[in-house]
């Protein structure tokens, strides 16, 4: 392999190399420092006189005397069955003291787009044991459902609880977990690792750790390595894989950093204009393929800067993912765990995974009715603050109380509390029964007759 010593400019994470042989776009590059250490990078721009290389680590120590070796291939990742139970760095190297991964295959980390025609429609209900997800924002196998959170909120606990409790009722296959940490603190990482070890989840998990003090640019490849691993486990080994990516906000910051270093025309708030496409190339790597056994389900976590859901990171994410689970600071302050605000939350694939044959026939209607009731009660809180409870009509007072009940009974649950979908729906009916039957306009008569506690207990007496 030819080594060039023609570095002409180094700016941020970018290295400009002059007068080379033809170099392929996105090729993997090794840079050899004077002391023999090696740094890796990727070609961002190639022409017959200049090649721009983006370095994944810090550029510390790179100088005009450094050697540049072009490997002639795009970034490939060794994958194998024995990755399960391993902890790898954000760049894919083992950091748990164990041996190197024995590669069964080497895969391109960019990953090709799944042909929409080859996709199979996700419809297997995943029971997470969390009522606000199962009942009102149902997750299905093959979905990408992010958690929108804010700094200081317990999103990690929610993600762990999902990873621990997720199962498809009636199926014995568990989930393999691929966990990719991007720029999180050592402390947070430890919390994840301890929980994985406590519950034995580590055995069926692959962990990628890019911590807060690891190079920011490495974060660009961490999720790609994780998703390549997930696709291998799912589509080649037939496993059901749950991918947790945290924190996507750090990923986007790294993207912005590179954009700025390349002197690109910035888009909104300085993030690159192609951020939508870039994020889509990660999030779209979830799904089920016709005729194959496995599936990739994604739960990306992101912290909304300033709790602002219109910030480009949550905004673009929301346009790509199939819904979002929004963690709310007010609920957290009220001491409610998990502080999931169902109103802005959404699962787009919910209707495919619920109802007769999936969960229960009344699921959709109960969920809609609870939503509408909670929304109405929640709106009234603003009014109460101005005019006082006494000025409300009888009807309004009932909805106000329903909203409180909903938060305290339905939303609130224990960190280790694993509710079945029947529990969740029955709890829903119990709460709805505090409202007069004629206010349940979104539920058909037949279902009310069948499931409403008032009629059910009546039936039992007969």
């Amino acid at each position: 392999m030819k080594e060039y010593r023609t570095i002409n400019k180094i700016a941020g994470p970018l290295v400009f190399v002059e007068k080379t042989e033809p170099i392929g776009y996105q090729e993997l590059v090794n840079i050899v420092l004077f002391d023999g250490t090696m740094k890796r990078g990727q070609v961002l721009d190639t022409s017959d006189d200049l090649v721009v290389v983006q370095i994944f680590e810090t550029t510390t120590g790179i100088g005009k005397d450094s050697g540049v070796r072009f490997t002639g291939e795009t970034i490939k990742m060794p994958v194998g069955r024995d990755m399960l139970g391993r902890i790898l760095s954000g760049g894919g190297k083992p950091i748990d003291g164990g041996p190197e991964i024995v590669p069964e295959k080497r895969l391109d980390i960019t990953g090709a787009a799944i042909n929409p025609y080859a996709r199979s429609n996700p419809s297997d209900f995943i029971q997470t044991g969390i009522s606000t997800i199962d009942g009102t924002n149902t997750l299905v196998r093959g979905q990408k459902l992010p958690i929108f959170s804010g700094a200081g909120l317990p999103h990690n606990n929610i993600a762990l609880q999902i990873a621990r409790q997720a199962k498809v009722p009636g199926s014995t296959e568990g989930f393999a977990v691929v966990f990719a940490a991007m720029g999180i603190t050592k402390e947070e990482a430890n919390a994840f690792m301890q929980d994985f070890e406590r519950t034995g989840a580590l055995e069926r998990a692959v962990v990628f750790l890019n911590l807060a003090d690891d190079p920011a640019v490495e974060r660009i490849i961490t999720p790609r390595l994780a998703l390549t691993t997930a696709e291998y486990l799912a589509f080649e080994l037939g496993m059901h894989v749950l991918v947790i990516l945290t924190d996507m906000t750090n990923y986007c910051e790294a993207l912005r950093q590179i954009g700025a270093a390349r002197e690109e025309v910035p888009g909104r708030r300085g993030y690159p204009g192609y951020m939508y496409t870039d994020l889509a190339c990660l999030y779209e790597r979830a799904g089920i393929i016709k005729g194959l056994k496995g599936s990739v389900t994604q739960i990306p976590i992101l912290t909304m800067p300033g709790d602002d859901i219109t910030h480009p990171i949550p905004d673009l994410t929301g346009y790509i993912t199939e819904g979002q689970i929004v963690v709310n600071r007010d609920l957290h302050r009220k001491g409610i765990y998990p502080p999931i605000n169902v109103l802005p939350s959404l699962s787009r694939l919910m209707n495919l995974g619920i109802g007769k044959g999936h969960t229960r026939e009344d699921h959709k209607k109960v969920s809609d009715q609870m939503y509408a009731g909670y929304a109405e009660g929640n709106d009234l809180r603003g009014l109460v603050a101005i005019v006082g409870k006494d000025a409300l009509s009888e009807r309004d007072r009932m909805f106000l109380e329903f909203a409180d009940l909903f938060e305290n009974r339905f939303v609130r649950q224990g960190y280790d509390e694993d509710r079945t979908i029947e529990d969740t729906l029955n709890l829903g009916w119990e709460l709805l029964s505090t409202l007069p039957v004629e206010q349940l306009v979104r539920i058909d008569r037949e279902l009310i007759q069948k499931y409403h506690p008032k009629f059910r207990t009546g039936a039992k007496k007969e």
Binding site: P116, R268, T277, A280, T310, D315, A391, R442, R445
Partner: protein, 588 residues
């Protein structure tokens, strides 16, 4: 993978100089703007988008990883075109008309590159039935025969740019799209297939003003904010407000004869949903599977951006082709914002001077050119055909002041404003009735008078009036509570709530409620109006609003939505309502 490496001397070949993402530069290439070129040893498809001195700038429709400077570039000399002919219906294409089903066969479950696949099957035989005979004079656009494609009759036409001529031979029987089925006296020969460059609108004789509504079966659309056949509409809304569900409802239930659905930079699973659902859904008019009248274009968000840019043109060209046969076509583009972003991405790679928010300065021009390809027309053969265009817009942060929304609103005639607040309250479709508008109301008035009822327009204005009044009253209620309102206004709030919950809310997932014909819409609104009239009369007679609200019969009204044969039930409710009000009045 198919690797093409033949060197043909008669075509111009150049050399790659620079690769940076989907935009590459070639030199020593003889090219014209928008020529289709084959890039690199793998012959990736691309299009010339800029010529500067000796440099030819090309946008590549496939992933360019691993491509090196020095690789060959070959100019095909053709512009980006689609194949038009029997076989389009039920197909699902990517942005450059490669059939995705064929791609799965050729390269497996993932989209690799360097594979070409023609838009139409060139081996399948179609039964061609001629409609003209030897000696007939034909002009451009003339229909010369028919093929029963699905349950839709595919009318085979003389290409729109052909000069007039006299038929010498016209065949009948089973032919592939390439076989000559028609020969003219002057020796010109025509197969069933036509090719048309996607960036050029297909010619028509005349554009007319639309007068017939596109009935969609969605109450808020047909009832309050109708779009005309041949009209344009935009659905902007933040994520999660129901753009895609609304677009899919339109694709399912609108009474167009042909539907072209473009999934432009959107989710893969959504396209799969359409693919699995449509074959099982029946067209309410014909009872045939909806898929038989549908062409899908799916260029998902992770597929190459340049192909995303082209997908919108591919779609509208196919729509125009069916329009030329005399069909009413409706085209859904979900989402035009992703299309605009593709333009922005390519533009920034070209280092063009950016306009607002980094979008290219020609954004407005491109958008208006696209929407202008909609319309009700007299085709070259004298038939009436139409293309209605409904574009979803995804404004960042739900902010309608951004450039794509604003430039779209300047062109389209119908605006369906989606509202996140409504969707959070599970009010679906989450179309805001105060902000939305339709500029077709006047031109469609006659149709509604004749086909629905002479008093429909009046009832519609009444309902809008009530909703408007409610919005004003809500501001007061927010401050002082509803009990502080005068009695008549308490009734207004109640009636507005009925309009919202009974008429405007519609459940796309309920087998019956998903489609509501105009007759039922009229009956439902009429029933609410009846309640309103009775309620105000009772109030004048001295009954208090608190009592009026206790009327039981109206509680049954929402159930009407879910009943297919609703008339007996509705009559019962109306009768009961009348009786209850009589009782109240006599008690007062």
């Amino acid at each position: 993978m198919e690797v093409k490496n033949e060197k043909t001397k008669d075509k111009k070949q150049g050399v790659l100089k620079r690769i940076a993402g989907p935009v590459v530069t070639a030199v020593n290439l003889d090219a014209h703007m928008y020529d289709v070129v084959k890039v690199g040893r793998e012959a990736l498809m691309g299009e010339v988008i800029k010529i500067q001195g000796d440099n030819v700038i090309i946008q590549v429709y496939e992933d360019t990883s691993g491509i090196k400077p020095g690789e060959p570039v070959e100019n095909t000399g053709l512009s980006l075109a689609v194949e038009l002919g029997p076989g389009l219906l039920t197909s699902i294409y990517d942005g450059i008309q490669r059939p995705l089903a064929v791609l799965v066969e050729k390269m497996g479950n993932f989209i690799e590159r360097g594979v070409t696949a023609p838009g139409l099957s060139h081996t399948k035989k179609w039964k061609f039935v001629p409609l003209v005979k030897a000696g007939d004079k034909v002009e451009a656009g003339a229909i010369i025969g028919e093929v029963q494609e699905t349950n839709i009759v595919h009318r085979v036409m003389i290409p729109p740019t052909a000069k007039p001529g006299v038929i010498k031979v016209i065949k009948s029987g089973e032919y592939t799209v390439d076989e000559i089925i028609c020969t003219l006296e002057d020796g010109r020969e025509f197969p069933m297939i036509q090719r048309w460059p996607v960036r050029v609108p297909r010619p028509v004789k005349e554009k007319m003003n639309p007068t017939i509504p596109l009935i969609t079966g969605q109450r808020i659309l047909d009832g309050l904010f109708p779009i005309a056949k041949g009209g344009t509409a935009a659905i902007p809304g933040p994520f999660g407000s129901g753009k895609t569900v609304t677009q899919q409802q339109l694709a399912k239930w609108s009474d167009a004869e042909i539907v072209v659905y473009i999934g432009c930079g959107e989710r893969g699973n959504e396209m799969t949903e359409v693919l699995t659902e449509f074959p099982h859904l029946e067209d309410p008019k014909t009872g045939k599977p909806l898929m038989e009248r549908t062409v899908l274009i799916a260029n998902t968000s992770n597929m190459p951006v340049a192909a995303r840019e082209a997908s919108v043109y591919t779609g509208i060209t196919i729509a125009e082709y069916f329009r030329d046969m005399g069909y009413d076509v409706s085209l859904m583009a979900d989402s035009t914002s992703r299309w605009a972003e593709a333009m922005r991405e390519i533009s920034s790679r070209l280092e063009e001077m950016p306009g607002e928010e980094g979008y290219p300065a020609y954004l407005a021009a491109r958008l208006s050119e696209f929407y202008e390809r909609a319309g009700l027309v007299k085709t070259l053969n004298g038939a009436r055909g139409s293309v209605s265009v409904i574009g979803a817009v995804s404004p960042p942060g739900g902010d309608f002041s951004e450039p794509v929304t604003q430039n779209t609103l300047r062109i389209v005639k119908v605006f369906w404003a989606l509202d996140a607040k409504l969707s959070q309250r599970r009010h679906f479709p989450a179309i805001n009735w105060l902000n939305s508008y339709s500029l077709y109301l006047d031109s469609l008035q006659d149709w509604y008078d004749k086909e629905v009822s002479p008093d429909w327009n009046q009832i519609r204005s009444w309902a809008m009036g009530v909703l408007q009044k409610e919005a004003e009253l809500q501001e007061i209620v927010q401050l002082v509570g509803s009990d502080a309102l005068p009695e008549t206004e308490q009734l207004t709030i109640e009636i507005a709530r009925m309009i919202r919950e009974i008429f405007l809310q519609q459940n796309a997932y309920d087998a019956v409620d998903t489609f509501c014909d105009m007759k039922k819409q009229y009956d439902m609104m009429k029933a609410i109006r009846l309640y309103s009239d009775l309620a105000y009369a009772a109030q004048v007679a001295g009954v208090s609003p608190a009592q009026i609200i206790t009327i039981k019969a109206k509680n049954d009204l929402p159930q009407i939505k879910f009943i297919k044969d609703y008339k007996p039930e509705l009559a019962k409710i109306e009768k009961q309502m009348d009786a209850e009000f009589n009782a109240l009045r006599s008690a007062a």
